[in-house]
Symmetry: C2
Subunit: 385 residues, 2 copies
């Protein structure tokens, strides 16, 4: 052998976290895939050349359960030593899926058991529902949010939209995800204009609407943009974990100087979802729920069923559960369904998502009637405000 | 209308880049999807409420070509105003796929025309093949690379592996992607040990092997880790765009103080690939080739056909082409096939990938014989060294 015949790791905590996978294919094929995953996502080394002892016994993943599901798929639970996930999100992603993402038909469905040794590495949402409510001063109904767009509008025009929405009673006015630092609305200029517009509306209405600034962009500028946004008067920041990297959410959420709520935007997130039998990826619950919560998103935006994108009620229900179910001491993430919402659909949203949610309506507020402020007022009334 | 009836954007360059998509489904369904994408990935606004003028005419994507392909799929070419892609990679990803990633069956196949106005925003690979060859002092054969692993080994043990590989004639010794900052091998400690071991071997052999340090991890520590690695004597850095965010590659490649070659690792990258009819994502050529090249990777690691992962020869051939075909003034990216390579397969690799490549063998060097140094010598001979 090229390595010592046996290796012992006396410092191992022997604490393990476990992950539920849904695997495509026959039981035999899925069993073989699960076996492969235990190695691929951890030691990534030929098993015949692996030293005996703790590396083979503890660091290689362990299949804890395996059972057939209806519809010809299989459920596998694999546990991993907490230490394999390192101390950061990219390394956790390596262990959850990593190179196995290149194998077909693996859905990483749910983090099942997460010992404190792993959970304690993550601060989670700084504000969560309680903190967000305190900031906007709304306690007894869902919050409402809109995006200022389309791209091509000037900062003045975007600020005017923000003003009218805040006048109408919106709680959160967010940038469109497509509007970061664009020629028609340079980042710094927009921060100043929009934050001022929201503040002016607040002074008139007595409400406490906030502006959520899209700080998605170059990794070495995200924190700087967030600080510029804060300085200008923005009340929250937004980034997109699928394009910015999941850790961008953690960086924003944990930075003491920024200290603002963080919204997680779903652009490009479809690639992270397992779609169809051949594709590998994450479930809605794990990607939008558990991972964003570990990273520290105070609210996660996702596309809702019945809108412009296909998604199942079951996936959304599981996502909701992952946002809210106990997860150590981490506060819940406030779910923010969007993606084709219209005023007539608000009652159904209320029934499904409940009060502890944020409802996002973008284009729908521009098609309901020519009166944007009036449309926002109607949105507010529809959620009980 | 809630917006001005017409908007003119006098500053528009009227330069457009065009993107080839392969769409699943019937011609009618794919045509409808393409139409939707022109809006979803740009203005994301109800078309009936969109101001007339430049936003509707220029910022909304434009279908430039549409034709059926064999096998019931459709090819669409969509062009976008350069300005919609903003000035950064996350925003480019928004326009290439963005929220449409949540629609089924969209494969972003290739950037076709990329005007200088867009290309000039990216520095691309700092070294490329010529620069890499100069660093390791090898001009007449493919370079060879290995990874030191498995996780669980101490920094001393990893350094010993690196020493033996460098003695055998490896050009690049890289960290395993699963070994960043782990308890058994803390980052700083490993940098010092492994860099020293490679340097010691170089002093003995007269070669110029380099250590490529895995700096994947927290976004706010990547640059710092790269600088620690450089200080310790590492000759290259590695990050994983799928888990760290694509822009991590650009940050590393463009930082003057770091100034080291950048390797792009494929962990988690399977989620970014379109797999099967239902899944949306990128082609191998676009994800591993064009995007990494824009970001500035000097070499891109990907899993090769015939190894542990399923991948078609056509996808790999297109990837190769994207690494090497002219792309403005950007240097080529050196392709680094890996993922289950063994010594007997080297001649076939040579024939397919040619001399201007880096061959990566990890586990295969540990199973060929118990003599790691001898196995590397055989690897070197097999590529003509």
């Amino acid at each position: 052998m090229t390595l010592p015949p046996s290796i012992s790791l006396p410092d191992l905590s022997h604490e393990r976290f476990s992950v539920e996978y849904i695997l495509s294919g026959s039981a035999a094929a899925a069993q073989a895939a699960a076996q492969k995953m235990t190695v691929e996502q951890t030691v990534e080394f030929p098993q015949e050349a692996l030293p005996a002892g703790d590396i083979a016994d503890e660091l290689v993943g362990r299949i804890e359960a395996f059972e057939p599901l209806e519809g010809g798929r299989q459920r596998a639970v694999i546990s991993y030593a907490v230490e394999t996930a390192g101390r950061d999100l990219p390394q956790l992603l390596n262990v959850l899926l990593g190179l196995s993402s290149l194998l077909p038909g693996i859905r990483v469905n749910r983090l099942l058991e997460i010992p404190d040794a792993l959970l304690n590495q993550y601060q989670g949402p700084r504000f969560g529902p309680a903190g967000l409510r305190e900031i906007v001063g709304v306690y007894d109904r869902p919050l409402i949010c809109t995006a200022i767009k389309p791209m091509g509008l000037s900062s003045e025009q975007l600020a005017d939209l923000a003003y009218r929405c805040a006048r109408g009673g919106i709680d959160i006015v967010k940038d469109d995800h497509g509007i970061g630092n664009v020629v028609w609305s340079p980042f710094e200029e927009r921060m100043a204009r929009v934050a001022e517009a929201v503040e002016r509306a607040n002074a008139e209405t007595g409400r406490r609407a906030i502006y959520a600034a899209n700080v998605s962009g170059p990794q070495d500028q995200i924190v700087e943009r967030a600080l510029i946004a804060k300085q200008a008067g923005a009340g929250a920041v937004m980034a997109a974990p699928a394009s910015d990297g999941l850790d961008a959410i953690r960086v924003l959420a944990s930075d003491e100087e920024i200290g603002l709520p963080v919204l997680s935007h779903p652009t490009l997130s479809g690639v992270f979802l397992a779609a169809g039998e051949a594709s590998s990826g994450f479930s809605h619950a794990l990607y939008y729920g558990q991972l964003q919560r570990l990273a520290g998103a105070d609210s996660v935006i996702f596309v809702n069923m019945g809108g412009r994108f296909p998604v199942s009620e079951e996936d959304i229900a599981n996502l909701l559960d992952a946002c809210r179910a106990p997860m150590g001491d981490l506060p819940p993430v406030m779910p923010m369904p969007g993606g084709g919402m219209t005023l007539p659909r608000v009652p159904a949203l209320l029934e499904f998502f409940g009060r502890e949610s944020i409802f996002l309506m973008g284009g729908g507020l521009h098609t309901a009637s020519p009166d944007l402020e009036g449309n926002v007022e109607a949105f507010l009334r529809a959620v009980g405000g």
